[in-house]
């Protein structure tokens, strides 16, 4: 019990990841979906840093930094798109954005 296990970090990341998956699938507010994607990306970052510490290399930390940078770019562009949808149809409800539905 006194030892720090690799698995406890991986299982915490699994909890965050599944919560994010639920949010992406079940939420109809576009901003909440973006927040759930942030949860998923953070779960991945925990995994990367934990495996880096496990292997005794800094590659995990470097990759986590890259993921953080990509996530920042993603949320910037994503929110711009959400703003555009809101400006065109006065709503960020994803159920309303269904023109492509056959």
């Amino acid at each position: 019990m006194d030892d720090v296990m690799l698995n406890q970090f991986l299982l915490l990341a699994a909890i965050l990841f599944s919560t994010g998956v639920y949010g992406v699938l079940a939420k109809k507010n576009a901003i909440l979906v973006l927040m759930s994607i942030e949860l998923i990306l953070n779960a991945v970052n925990i995994n990367l840093v934990a495996f880096g510490a496990h292997n005794g290399t800094v590659a995990g930390s470097v990759f986590a930094l890259f993921v953080i940078a990509v996530a920042a770019a993603e949320v910037g562009v994503g929110l711009a798109i959400v703003l555009l949808i809101y400006r065109n149809r006065r709503s960020v409800d994803l159920d309303d954005v269904a023109q492509m539905k056959g």
Binding site: E38, V75, A80
Partner: protein, 178 residues
């Protein structure tokens, strides 16, 4: 001479903090996707992101932890709050944020977690984080991280810079009013 690896030296305190922070993170993460107010969800998201930063410190990656606080709590959450402000007529109003098929999402999430937890427990079992004191030399690894970024990973780093520039220009082009 018997040098104890730094991470294993006080595993009890580490475990104590890990489980305290992890419990708070799991609770906050579930609140993010269940609460009925978008602003409250963003506040719970801050708690999760701060918890992730704390876990990075427990994993002896203090530079990633600092970046986490600066970029996520400092920039991303503020951006999300701007988005909430600009896309909602009334702040602080409780509305139904869940679609009709939320139970399918719940079933999928539980199944994903079940598969991941089973395979992790099966494969890694009781493997300690610190194998043979491998990361005792990683404590205070900011110098090694910077050496890796500006040496081995220089090209990906430059590509990330171009990507950030492209995203910046793209977001401005999309969001500005003509």
């Amino acid at each position: 001479m018997n040098v104890t690896p730094v991470l294993a030296a006080d595993g009890f305190a580490q475990n104590l903090f890990f489980y305290a922070i992890a419990a708070g993170m799991a609770f906050s993460a579930i609140r993010v996707v269940t609460v009925k107010n978008v602003v409250h969800a963003a506040m719970y998201l801050v708690l999760v992101l701060a918890g992730v930063g704390a876990q990075f410190i427990l994993l002896a990656s203090e530079f990633v932890a600092a970046t986490q606080v600066l970029v996520y709590i400092g920039a991303v959450v503020v951006l999300v709050l701007f988005g909430v402000m600009l896309t909602r007529a009334k702040l602080g109003e409780d509305v139904n944020l869940t679609n009709d098929y939320w139970w399918l999402g719940a079933v999928s999430a539980v199944m994903v977690f079940g598969v991941m937890a089973y395979s992790l427990l099966d494969y890694y079992g009781d493997e300690p984080l610190d194998e043979a004191g491998a990361n005792s030399q990683l404590v205070g690894n900011t110098e090694q991280v910077s050496d890796a970024i500006f040496g081995q990973y220089l090209v990906p780093f430059e590509i990330i810079s171009v990507l950030l520039l492209g995203a910046l220009v793209g977001a401005i082009v999309l969001a500005r009013k003509d």
